[in-house]
Symmetry: C2
Amino acid sequence: MQFALDERLERDSELVTVLGLCQLRLMKDSRWPWLMLVPQRAGVSEIFELTPLDQTLLTFETNAVAAALKTATGARKINVGALGNIVPQLHVHIVARMEADPNWPGPIWGHGSAEPYRDGAEQDFLKKLIEAL
Amino acid sequence: MQFALDERLERDSELVTVLGLCQLRLMKDSRWPWLMLVPQRAGVSEIFELTPLDQTLLTFETNAVAAALKTATGARKINVGALGNIVPQLHVHIVARMEADPNWPGPIWGHGSAEPYRDGAEQDFLKKLIEAL
């Protein structure tokens, strides 16, 4: 079985780059600097279903992206989560949180509706992120 | 600086066992089978602040506990999250989710109030978990 990105993940995010294991994607929601890693492996919905090597790669990529996101945003806290209650294809959320952001200190998931990026804000953010990576 | 468990984490959970890196703790909330791993390292609030070896250990322990939790509960999905917006000491939540549980398919964090375990339900759950581990 070949990897194919879930339709909902594809609709809600856009590709930033491809790392060793994962697609790094930006969520189409400007309320938080919100990235997603999707391991390019078919039929996997839990991290423990990956091979040990892939688990280690995912850890490495998650932490590299999380550290870069902290540098790029000056966030107070990085939130990392693998939920998958709605979309079972394994995906890891990496989100920069600030004290003044929507729903702080609660979680971002299930809160309100996405707000698209405007006026080049997305390019500005991605430029900083790529530099930090 | 020596590791000391955060007071709030201590109050809201109880020790199940100590693994190579982490304390494995059970949250005092029977609404979901909800475990927590706390790396016994001082002054760390983000996973990427751990050494590479500790990051790998945390991945190994997280996935071993997540797989055991799935076996013990028959959960539809395991949710794994490191948020830390309220308690900065690094801790990883590992939660078994079912379609009929409170706030499905939304997140567990910030939802309602804890409900204590009663009538030996905690011992029954921990027995199954330890067998699966």
